[in-house]
């Protein structure tokens, strides 16, 4: 299929490109930019005047709920939502049922994603068997079956020795290790940031130290083992400082943040709105400022959705008894664009955090529109407004605190490997 994307503002941070031009696609790859290659006759022309054309977004953390919790979402439903959100590659955590600790589960996820055909899905493998924090999972076999990285998510390693062994083993094969850092004993039964609002509401808090202690412990062992490591969905300003000083010392560590942590804080939980029951929790206003600063100074190299779809019933209970998380694939781009509106980032900088940034963290050959790259492309209208509601959300999870709100910035079309996987009519 030969496609021409015509007249859009093409932004590709990988080539430091930001200009109005045309894009030519052939056999799933970017063939050329600007002038049409000789003899190129497009079978389809996508008109992109007034739109932004950028690499397809790469989302570092999205729960798809399959296998095991398909009442909350399926690989088909959630990858369709991802495509509607301009995402062409997503990384999915191993917290499925069964967990991704055998090649069979890793392959099942990739096969179903390929059948659905909306976007590339790269599973993260479990670091320990059953995510129980006790015995190593078969990291090498999992990596051979397509696992892009390894994590124990927020489930505890039974002790520091197990953690050390995991990192040493991962370092042996130069595998990427991901931390969603949270000390289990300090987080205990907590359901929101331990701040003034938490005290007022009488909820169990998750103190800042639950994250910072675990970040600090992991950094010390990363330094000792030399493993490649990434910290996902940081929520505290002090964590950003810890990562910054480690990077300064030359450690191979990177970090990302979920977009809602850049926009919301714990003060918003004024009632007991379960849509704001998130994990990691929304922190204080100073933490939010610290995360935003970390983004500007490139300590945080990527923004992710941290998509956690829930069914209705999981959110209909007293706050602490509800399931945490928000449905976030389709709001990732419009919420991120608010950072440009708020003059925190320029648009090309923002796009880098959503494309090239995560690609580099993963060591993926993606996130670029340079000729020869796979044609993973997002075309969006930065000015178009839309209302987040039952009809507009494709995800099975309707659990978003932005439900009912009007957001600016809407995806017009998404191409994965040169194939149009989403188009808004």
């Amino acid at each position: 299929m030969k496609i021409k994307i015509q007249g859009g503002r093409v932004i590709d941070p990988a080539q430091t490109l930001d200009e109005i031009t045309d894009l030519y696609i052939q056999e799933g790859q970017i063939l050329a930019l600007g002038e049409a290659p000789e003899g190129f006759i497009p079978e389809e022309v996508i008109l992109a005047e007034g739109k932004v054309v950028c690499p397809g977004l790469i989302d570092l953390c999205a729960h798809l709920r399959e296998p095991g919790e398909t009442q909350k979402g399926t690989i088909a439903s959630e990858t369709a939502a991802a495509a509607a959100g301009g995402i062409t590659t997503l990384i999915t955590p191993p917290t499925t049922r069964p967990v991704v600790d055998t090649p069979a589960v890793a392959e099942l996820i990739q096969d179903r994603a390929a059948d659905a055909g909306f976007c590339r899905v790269l599973p993260m493998g479990a670091m320990t068997q059953g995510l129980k924090g006790e015995q190593l999972a078969p990291l090498h076999a999992l990596a051979s079956s397509g696992c892009i990285a390894f994590t124990n998510m927020r489930l505890a390693y039974s002790d520091s020795l197990v953690l050390l062994r995991c990192l040493e083993y991962a370092a042996t094969f130069d595998l990427l290790v991901v931390f969603q850092a949270q000390d289990a004993s300090l987080a205990a039964k907590g359901c929101m940031h331990e701040g003034a609002n938490c005290t007022r509401l009488g909820l169990n808090g998750i103190p800042e130290a639950a994250e910072t202690i675990e970040v600090a412990r992991c950094l010390l062992l990363i330094e000792q083992t030399g493993v490649r490591a990434h910290f996902g969905q940081l929520s505290c300003e002090r964590s950003v400082h810890l990562i910054a000083s480690a990077q300064k010392r030359g450690l191979k560590v990177s970090a990302d943040v979920a977009v809602h942590h850049l926009l919301l804080c714990d003060e918003q939980i004024s009632g007991f709105d379960s849509a704001l029951h998130l994990q990691p929790p929304l922190r204080g206003a100073l933490d939010r400022a610290g995360l935003r600063q970390g983004l500007v100074t490139d300590i945080l190299a990527a923004i992710c959705s941290d998509h956690q779809p829930q069914d209705l019933i999981s959110k209909q209970a007293p706050f602490a008894e509800t399931a945490p998380g928000m449905s976030a694939l389709e709001t990732l781009l419009p919420l991120s664009l608010q950072l440009v509106e708020q003059k925190l980032l320029e648009l090309p900088q923002l796009i880098e955090k959503l494309t090239l940034g995560p690609a580099r963290i993963l060591g993926l050959d993606a996130g670029s529109l340079a000729p020869g790259s796979q044609a993973d492309i997002c075309i969006f209208d930065p000015e178009e407004s839309w209302v987040v509601n039952e009809e507009t959300l494709r995800s099975a999870g309707k659990n978003t605190p932005f439900f009912g709100q009007t957001l600016k910035g809407r995806v017009c079309a998404t191409l994965t490997g040169g194939k149009v996987v989403y188009r808004r009519h």
């Binding site: 331990e194 701040g195 003034a196 938490c198 005290t199 007022r200 509401l201 009488g202 909820l203 808090g205 103190p207 919301l264 918003q268 004024s270 009632g271 007991f272 709105d273 849509a275 019933i313 209909q316 209970a317 007293p318 706050f319 602490a320 008894e321 605190p401 932005f402 439900f403 009912g404 709100q405």
Partner: protein
Amino acid sequence: MLSPTPADSIQLTADGQLKHFLTTEGLPQALLTQILDTADSFVDMGEQQVKKVPLLRGKTVANLFFEASTRTLSTFELAAKRLSADVLNLNISTSSTAKGETLKDTLMTLRAMHCDMFVVRHSASGAAHFIAEQVTPDVAVINAGDGRHAHPTQAMLDMLTIRRHKGEFTPLKVAIVGDILHSRVARSQIHALRTLGVAEIRVIAPMTLLPRHIESLGVKVYTEMSRGLRDVDVVMMLRLQKERMQTALLPSESEFYKLYGLTEAKLAYAKPDALVMHPGPINRGVEIESAVADGPRSLILDQVTNGIAVRMAVMSMAMSGQLTQQNTLTSSAAAYEA
């Protein structure tokens, strides 16, 4: 939704009447005073030969206790009966939830039975808010304690007890002593005392029993009884649950008693006419010395008596607010159809 829903918007009708009683936070001073005035009129009624008034005649009050309680349940039951309501006591902790029914399904079932008021106790903070959201506008909800969040009728009976003995709130210094961290009573007391305008609210506890940022609620924090009790007019003790000793919160009951138990010696730091209160049930020799609990300044039994009056007051007020709202909804619906 990200638009803040202040606590009062769910508790009050459009014209400011009480329709649910979920928390003392955010309610206007005039409304708290109205609760106290109404309760005052019920206090003496308990001493009369005929103890009933017909304010809730024909109404059904369901006591939904998801957490075991004898004292609070009996005072709510008595209050409802003295208002002539039909009363249904449901100890749900041992029935539906054990069968796997969700809270929402339990509520829908009970609503279908056409109860007019739910009195709710639940171990999760925010449970009363959740229930009120689910059953509005058919049923009035009274919070009888939700997690660590609120126990507003307890706080108001404490306020009534203070007012009946001290008259005015504004000159008073009040100290709340003990397990502030786990206490819904303390939180509700703090909000009520602030709104009623006392001069100073203090909390006294070891750091392990103080929630972080407690000072943001407008209290002064003390860790020593000798300093915290100095010149106070009212000492409000909190119950200390025995299971707190099993974690690293406290070393032992005896050490807690030595440092924070209210003895006659420690009470001497307070003003000579200081009042002593406790929500009960009391642990003698843990939070309070028997001589103090049974002494002339102890109002512990007054609190129980006042508790029934306060519960009658909020039940009758919430029911009347609820009816006003239902009538408004019906008439606006009729107007819309017309």
